[in-house]
Amino acid sequence: MIARAMVLLAQVTTPPTLAPPPGLKMPAVQEARLSNGLRLVVVPMHEVPLVQVVLSVAGGGRDDGPLAGLATFTAGMLDKGAGSRDANTIAEDVAYLGATLFAGADWNGINVALRVPKRSMGPALDLMADVALRPAFTAAEVKRQRDLRLANLVQQRDNPGAVAGLHYSALVFPANHPYHRPLGGDSASTAALDSSTVRRFYQRSFRPDRATVVVTGDITLPEAREEIGRRFGAWPVSGSVAANGSSPAVQPSSRPTTIFLVDKPAAAQSVVRMGHRGVQRSSVDYYAVQVMNTLLGGSFSSRLNSNLRETKGYTYGARSSFDFQPLPGPFTALADVRTDVTDSSLVEFLKELRRIRDSAVDPVELERTKQYLALRVPGSFETTGQVAGQVGTLLTFGLPFTWFDDYVRRIMAVTAEDVRRVARQYVHPDSLTIVVVGDVQKIRPGIEHLGLGPIEVRKP
């Protein structure tokens, strides 16, 4: 039996040679502008009878001012009563139409996203227009949602990942920076919310000349212009434009590496977040930074994951990212690690953050990373949601729709020297903010022993 098996087992022993990758077949992006200044972008995709419509109004969390969480709260209030419908009628109608309607905010804007089967698009757009243009913001609903958010904020404190994230943002960004405070608000800012504050914020933000509508799916440009124009064309340009959030200096903190411990007694793991301020999206180094980070901690085979998960077995996954925003968002390396190897994990993180600066990258590793970034692009344009997301990102950052045409070439042009240069410029192992949420009594002695920098224990 064994001999026969061996004869039979004629596996092809080397990996197949692959044909050239398919060219980028970018969907056609079409555009129109309504007379009130509203910009309309349409990407027809006719495979499935679904339509996705995303209205984005510039501003969002960066315009929160002193009330952290105001933009996300205002967004969440849009569908809690609008036009002739109360909060419950809106939810019932959305469900009846087989639609999903989501209103949220990020650091750049407020988004109202509708996803609906083509056959119920008309009534769903009527509803969306009510929500976006005629929200009620009744005092009773504002109070109801405010109380719910306060209760959720209490619950959030039990989640060590969420706790680590809040401390991390508050420590990496100075108090006058919009990213210092949570996008979702805190209990003090939430308690101060009322309907007039919300209405004022809405009136300053929601203007057609600050807005775009992206439509993807089973629709044509003329059809979209007609459907969107009928409902959003009479939206008047009015109100005063909110001042954009302040833009403090973008220099990374010069604070030497400091460790901030947050106690979670009996924690099975330590939640580790480390980094500093990063790069803005408009940087000329965008491509090189993407390659560098993918190699460092942006893919399964990256150095951080290979080291902390696949070699040491300290974690289920380690990674790093640059949060590209109009203002530099954070560079963050992170993992949840076993309590008794918290100190050893910090050593390995630091080792990788130094290595990428100090030694030249291996050419095979570099080539693999570039190809991974370049060749996976077609897979980011499969669904109406993905396409709307990609188009929305280009719009947010003022990039041309032809941006992807050049993407592969720009990624493939990144050299080993570029990677090392941007690592030295944007990764700073000597001025890290390190947040660890874990069992302080157990992890502190080992971390102290490392001598990485001062240790401060923060209240949860």
């Binding site: 990996p15 692959l18 990758p21 002739s84 419908r85 469900a95 289920y316 499969e382």
Partner: protein
């Protein structure tokens, strides 16, 4: 196919009735072949974007684990990425990344699945790597790999269970619902003790028994030609020998004679209540009805429990109902988290009253339409992604032998009536259940008391 009739006359809402047209039936064309070694290949061509997914299901899950080896099917899944004879570690991930492809795997009670997805040019590599680990995994397998992934899986467990608020529920509920020895009485992630006990010998035996081609189905979906895929699969997989036929002992249906009540303390600030019942298995008519019940209870902001607990009474922050459909038997759960200052018996009274009311009155026509229309839209979303289609084709094939089960599945939901909803709530959700309270440390007074159903 049953026509999808919208009840216009009863609708008093602000929104106009939907056009009463019957949408075109969903068709997902495919070819199917079985190699002499028993490997099944299903190809679905979708030329909209130049991408491909290769999705392999092995018909083995945590339900097949031996006593004392809980969590083993999932640990084994991790080992499938640790290299094979001609693609030694870490080639699997590195070669795929260099080809622009990503990959992952997952394990549940009933099956283990693996996919690669990326540009269509990467397909030969995907299939070659899958063939090498199906045919030639053991030559490079050793204790060091098992030890390493054992550590990784234990970390996965810490991250998802021990260090997660309310995570201990996952450990406790299966044992409350199923008797010892039942294949669903333990968790997919397994216990730390059993993970520690897994050996290299276990890995070899499990592989030989369950990872043979006759226990696997590959679905390739994307911008491909079926004949070319078939040629590649023959080239790479045909020489892998067939494994033993798998027989599984019949599993007797389980019912609870009375409510089982348990209180657990966790490092949380507010208590959470879990109800769980035995329900009919995946793919049955009542399984679909219970999916719609879950929607009617908590699927939207205005669903019955959400509206009462979160919106009107404001005694909970969240509530969720879910029919966990599985191959041997399903379970239905209702979860609700109290707001600060509220105890679980308050929530319990509302949940019990709403279930009784739904069993008595049934849903309104419009409520049922909302649940069905939302379900139908979810089917459309599923069709947008080759990855999701490939996984679903595999699921349908395992359930019924029909890879293109989409329309039949949708019809299952369309056929549900208001009387069905009343009947399944009465039959399954007024029956004895598992009642689990998770309360803050030292606060057992916030829990639901043992109110034992005779």
């Amino acid at each position: 196919m049953k026509p999808f009739r919208v009840t216009l006359a009863l609708s008093l809402a602000a929104v106009a009735p939907l056009p009463a047209q019957s949408p075109a039936p969903i068709r997902v064309p495919y070819t199917i072949d079985t190699l002499p070694n028993g490997l099944t290949l299903i190809v679905h061509e979708d030329h909209s974007v130049p991408v491909v997914t290769a999705y392999t299901w092995f018909h083995v899950g945590s339900a097949d684990e031996e006593p004392g080896r809980t969590g083993f099917a999932h640990l084994f899944e991790h080992l499938m990425f640790m290299g094979s004879q001609h693609a030694p570690y870490p080639q699997f991930d590195r070669l795929l990344e260099a080809a622009g492809a990503s990959n992952n795997g997952s394990t549940n009670n009933d099956r283990t699945n693996y996919y690669e997805q990326g540009p269509v040019s990467a397909l030969p590599l995907m299939l070659w790597l899958d063939a090498d680990r199906m045919g030639w995994l053991l030559p490079t397998m050793d204790s060091a790999k098992v030890d390493l992934q054992r550590d990784v899986v234990k970390n996965e467990r810490r991250q998802g269970v021990e260090n997660q608020p309310y995570g201990l529920v996952e450990d406790i509920l299966p044992g409350m619902l199923y008797p010892p020895g039942h294949p669903y009485s333990w968790t997919v992630i397994g216990s730390m003790k059993d993970l520690s006990a897994a050996s290299l010998e276990d890995v070899k035996n499990f592989f030989r028994k369950y990872y043979a081609p006759n226990n696997a189905v590959i679905v390739v979906a994307g911008d491909v030609k079926a004949a070319e895929v078939k040629a590649l699969v023959w080239k790479y997989f045909a020489d892998i020998p067939r494994g033993p036929a798998i027989t599984r002992p019949a599993v007797q249906p389980v019912t609870l004679a009375r409510d089982t009540v348990h209180v657990a303390e966790d490092r949380v600030q507010v208590p959470r209540l879990h109800y769980s019942w035995h329900t009919p298995k995946l793919g049955t008519a009542d399984d679909a009805a219970l999916d719609l019940v879950a929607y009617i209870l908590t699927g939207a902001r205005t669903s019955r429990l959400t509206r009462k607990l979160v919106y009107e009474l404001q005694i909970a922050t969240d509530t969720d109902a879910f029919q966990a459909s599985k191959r041997l038997a399903s379970d239905f759960s209702v979860t609700a988290t109290a707001r600060p200052g509220h105890a679980l018996p308050e929530l319990q009274r509302v949940i019990d009253a709403e279930l009784a009311r739904l069993a008595e009155e049934g849903p309104s026509a419009r409520e049922l339409d909302q649940a069905k229309n939302t379900t139908e839209a979810q089917f459309l979303s599923l069709l947008e992604s080759t990855n999701r289609k490939a996984n679903q084709i595999n699921s349908y094939y395992y359930q019924s032998g029909n890879p293109d089960g989409f329309q039949a599945d949708l019809d299952r939901y369309r056929a549900v009536t208001a009387d069905d909803i009343r009947r399944v709530v009465r039959s399954y959700l007024l029956a004895p259940k598992a009642v689990l309270s998770v309360v803050p440390l030292g606060k057992p007074e916030l829990a639901v008391r043992g109110r034992v159903t005779p």
